[in-house]
Every structure is written in structure tokens, then in C-alpha cells.
Symmetry: C2
Subunit: 348 residues, 2 copies
């Protein structure tokens, strides 16, 4: 095989607001040469197996530096994401054909060339851990949950922990980690089905549906009679404002995401009017990106793999989209109430 | 002298919004017995010399627990504040007639009885430090500036530091402390006269008048071409929102006060729409009250007294109101652009 045809997604136009459509992201077919001469040194050719679809991808195609400070794709550039792939050609002695690897810059494509220095890890296929977990439980969402709960919130047993978007990729791990710390954990989410899931599968003590309990202040009064000690915020806006009316003294608020605002320019976002509560309650609010904690990735992976082996944390709830052509559908699903768990594209 | 007449301020009605008036705070004359039998054990009678007028006083007469979580005065209760007084009667062996003391619960009155356990410190009158400095430089505003800059922001030499309400009681010390750390320090304030003062007397590198440079975003672009590393926020609202558009990676924002909101119920306050920037820039925002740092007061006082003796920090710009009857005027001045430095009532 001297070459392969590969369908790949590229940026056709920036999407300033709203959910991206086929006006913004387009699929094209390219031919990738597999002849050794055409592959640069220290590169591998990957056959894509799984691609991680994350909210930050939305922020990387707005055409402006946004609050998340995510670098923007250029027009015509191939979209990349965290992915799991199989090495089919290698110009790096550390990787052999057949190796399965995790890479931070896998193209949203059937095949791609990747500089081997961007490979995050080689997967030992006898580990027993399903491949998509390497971009979920052991990937960005699992690591974000761990940084937010273990490193930043560091809650005591008995602490009252609130997690928004609790059925999302970060929320499903964060709740379990907080439970392992002996906390009382309550989640918010967008459907009754997800409320059930959060309680039965992710081990939360309780959860509420913000579409039916629309008075967030009343809901938080009900679920947090003793106030909130930790709020892992994944949504921002109105729910953050409501939470600030229920924080306890010295509460901690790791800011992991604010999905309520990603499809809006910042001046259109809901303002938070009660930041004065941060003073009276001496609250610490800490925004974070997992990229700043990579020096702790090893500790995280060891801990999570141990939790999984001991059955303390279950494998992930995955929302798998089949085929590279599902990018728009899978990305759009992050911004609907129907999304559950970790969104992944299975390329083959 | 068996008794004294004393004029004292009491709360006649809560002031939910706006600047308090004579409808809310009223003056009455009471008679205080000085006979030993009528003074409780472990109490002293103070003749009030200086009273500290601070923004938190506004929040203690709203009739509701506000974002600052300041306990509310009861109706008919005498208003109390930090003050400097002379002991004229004592039922505590640690205090003698003639001692000058600082107390956290001095009545806004000509005379008052104070439990001696509420006395913060006895002043050694040969220290050379003017008496009002004990409720200013060495009082709540000086301590708040020190906690915000030294403990929470902990800036490196060369850091770009922004301080709002820079001509106010906290701002005048905070700027000097940041300069001693080798930072580049810019302040915002409400008049050209105060801009001059901030630069010439408080040692700021530069300052701007937010009444004339009303496009805060443009102003911050101009004064912070390299972004903001530390923002000591004393005002909240629109200026905080603007600052969040200029923060650098890992910026620190100690929240000391939000005076733009004190005269409004929280739902009427300006919302901050760009909190997403806290994530992209991984900013730490920490609300604080000095009461939680009292275990560091000794370190603070030693350091500040040393700075003063070495001429590194000058004595305070004081705005002295004469006579106990000036409470409404002095409190109201905190919420106008005319206020400069530390507001103090000199009772005698």
C-alpha cells in the first residue's frame, strides 16, 4: 500500500456564535502517501481509532481569542483533537507498526501524519483498559476532574460538593472522586434520565434537573441545607450566580468550564451580579486548564488506574458516534441536554 | 464627676439602598454613669478620640445579610466602629485611667463603656506615631492592603499591579507596598486631583481618572501594554469586568471590596460577563476579610512600623471630620469621588 485515501475535516469558515454547522466545518478527501520517502523523520502515520470531542474545540473555531484563550485553527486547516490511533508507518525508532498510541494532535481524519514528539503515550494493549478510556477516564476529562477535585478543591470528608454538568465527561469522574473523599455530592444536569444516571451509576448522593427545577436558588436551598463547600463549575452564568448565594465560609470554586457561554460572544453572556459574596464568604475561585498540571499526569494516571482495578471507579459512560463523518453531530451534542458522558468518535 | 452626657448615634431605620440619611441614623444624648458601682467588671469607660469610618459600616445597616456577610445592627442599637479612646474609668487591672487604647467596638459616641477583652491594643504614646494611624496605617485599611498585597498577591519584582479606588484608605497603602516589592503600579480613581495625589504622594507609577477615561478597556490597554499580573479590587462591577479582559496568565485578584455595589441590592448590581477569562488565564480570585488574618497582625504591625521609621511608607492621607455629629457626612463621603485617603472622625 503506497498511499491511502483519507477523509478529513477542515475549517471552512469561523463560527462566531451558535452551534457550528457544515458552513464552518467541511469534510474533504485527501490522498496520503505512505512511501517512506514522503514521511518526515520523527513522524508516524496513524490510522485513527478514537477521537475525543471536547467543548474546547468549539472555542478554537470562533475566529477570535476567547475567554478560554484557546489557539484558533486557521482557515483550511485540518481540525485536530486528542485521539487514539494505530501506527501504520513509522519514521521513529520508538514506535513500530501496530503500536497503539494517544496523541494530542490527531487529525479528525481517517489517517494522519503526526510528529512523534506529540505522542502522549504508548498503550499497553494487555492493560485490560478499553481504548476509549485513554481519552476519557485517563484523558482530558478524567484529568480535569482530578485536578479540580483532588488538587484544587481538596475537600474534607463530609464537605458539601456541588458539580454542574454532572452527567458530562468531567462531572461523571468528579462526583466519584469526591465520593471517594467522603463528601456529600450533588449534581445538576439537563434531564430526568441523566438525574437517574448520576445517582445510580456515578454514585452522586442526589441530583436535580435544571430544566424542571428552574428556580436554581430554591433548588440549591433544598439540596444544600448546610451550604456549599466546593462548587466544581462546568457551566458558568446563572448557575454560578445561584451557587454564590449558597457558598459557605472559605468555599472553593474550581472553574473547569462555562459551557453556557461558549456559543455566545462575551458581551452577550449572563453577568454574575453577586461576586461580593466572594468577599463575605472569603471564597477562592480558581480557573484552570489541565495543560498546566501535566507534571502531575503520572500521579493522576496511577491513582485512577488503581481506582478502576479496585472497582472504586467504574469505566466511563461513553457516547460513541460512529464514523469520522459524525463530527458536527458529535460536537453539537455537547451543547444539548441530551449529552451523557464522554463524547467520542469511533473512526472505524 | 459621677456621670457624663454623651451624644451617640443609633440605628433608627434600615437603609436597604442608597446612601444612608438622617432617616436611618440618628443622634441622641444619653447620660453615662461613671460611678464604680455602675461599671461592670472587666469593662472600661472610654472618652472617644478618633473613630474609623469604613465602607463595611454601610453594609451593616441594610437590614439583610449582604454579600459582605456583615452582622447587622439592631434597630435602636448604638453604632460601633474601630476607634481610639482614652480610658477615663477602669474596672480591669490591665488598664489605667489615662491609657490610650484601640478598640474594635468603640461606640460612635463621645463616651462609651467597652468590655476590656475587645480592646485590640494599648498605645504607647511615646511611639511617635500619630494616634489616627492606629486605625489607618496600623488599622483595618493598612492591614487589608498588607493581606491583599503581601499575603495573597505576593507579587514578583516587575509585576504589573492594578489597584482600584487607589486614593482610598486601602489603595494608598497597597500601592506603596507593591512599589516596595519592585512592581509597576497603576491606580484608578475618581478625580484629577486624586490622580495627582496617587502619583506624587502614594508613589504609584501612574493613575487614571475613571470619570474622564470612561472606556475602561481602552484605559487598561493604554496603562497595561503587558497585561495585569495582580488586580487588587476595591470596586467590583464594571472595572472588574474590564480588568478581566487584561489579565495575564496566572494573574491574582485579591477581592478587598466592591464599593460600586454597596448601595444597591445584589440583583441591581452590574453583572460580570467575562468570568470565562478566569479559566483561559487560570486566574485566582480570592475574597478576603482581615478578621481571618488576625494571627498575622503582629507581623504586619512590625513590618509597617519599620517601613514608617525608615521613611519607606509615609504617614497617611487622612480625611478628618470634626465632631461626633459628622457621621452621616463622613460615611457618605466614602461613596463620592471627593473622598481621599482614610476617613476619620475626630471626636474632640
Amino acid at each position: 500500500m503506497a498511499e491511502v485515501e483519507s477523509r478529513e475535516w477542515y475549517l471552512a469558515a469561523y463560527a462566531a456564535e451558535g452551534v457550528p454547522t457544515s458552513d464552518h466545518l467541511k469534510l474533504r478527501t485527501v490522498t496520503l502517501s505512505l512511501s517512506p520517502d514522503s514521511i518526515p523523520e520523527q513522524h508516524v502515520i496513524l490510522e485513527t481509532l478514537f477521537i475525543s470531542i471536547e467543548p474546547y474545540l468549539r472555542s478554537s473555531i470562533t475566529g477570535r481569542e476567547d475567554g478560554l484563550c484557546i489557539p484558533q485553527f486557521n482557515l483550511d486547516q485540518v481540525i485536530t483533537a486528542f485521539g487514539v490511533g494505530r501506527v501504520i508507518r513509522s519514521k521513529d525508532g520508538n514506535y513500530a507498526e501496530g503500536d497503539i498510541v494517544v496523541s494530542a494532535f490527531t487529525s479528525v481524519a481517517e489517517y494522519c501524519a503526526v510528529p512523534s514528539q506529540l505522542i502522549a503515550r504508548k498503550i499497553h494493549t494487555n492493560s485490560g483498559i478499553p481504548l476509549p478510556e485513554y481519552i476519557s477516564l485517563l484523558g482530558v476529562p478524567g484529568f480535569a476532574a482530578w485536578v479540580g477535585i483532588e488538587l484544587l478543591a481538596d475537600p474534607k470528608p463530609g464537605s458539601n460538593v456541588f458539580i454542574s454538568a454532572a452527567a458530562g465527561a468531567v462531572g461523571m469522574y468528579a462526583g466519584q472522586l469526591a465520593k471517594l473523599r467522603g463528601c456529600r455530592v450533588i449534581g445538576s444536569t439537563g434531564s430526568d434520565e441523566k438525574v437517574r444516571l448520576i445517582k445510580e451509576e456515578f454514585g452522586y448522593d442526589d441530583a436535580f434537573n435544571y430544566h424542571t427545577e428552574t428556580d436554581f436558588d430554591a433548588a440549591l436551598s433544598k439540596y444544600f441545607p448546610n451550604g456549599i463547600d466546593v462548587y466544581l463549575d462546568n457551566v458558568g452564568g446563572e448557575m454560578l450566580e445561584a451557587a454564590l448565594n449558597h457558598v459557605n465560609k472559605h468555599a472553593k470554586i474550581p472553574l473547569c468550564g462555562m459551557i453556557s457561554g461558549y456559543n455566545k460572544v462575551w458581551t452577550e453572556r449572563e453577568g454574575v451580579r453577586n461576586l461580593l459574596n466572594l468577599i463575605g464568604k472569603e471564597v477562592n475561585m480558581q480557573g484552570f486548564l489541565v495543560g498546566s498540571y501535566l507534571h502531575r499526569y503520572g500521579d493522576f494516571a496511577t491513582e485512577m488506574e488503581s481506582h478502576v482495578k479496585q472497582g472504586k471507579i467504574g469505566y466511563s459512560k461513553l457516547k460513541i458516534f460512529h464514523g469520522i463523518e459524525t463530527l458536527l453531530e458529535s460536537l453539537g451534542s455537547l451543547f444539548t441536554s441530551s449529552n451523557v458522558g464522554k463524547v467520542v468518535i469511533q473512526a472505524k
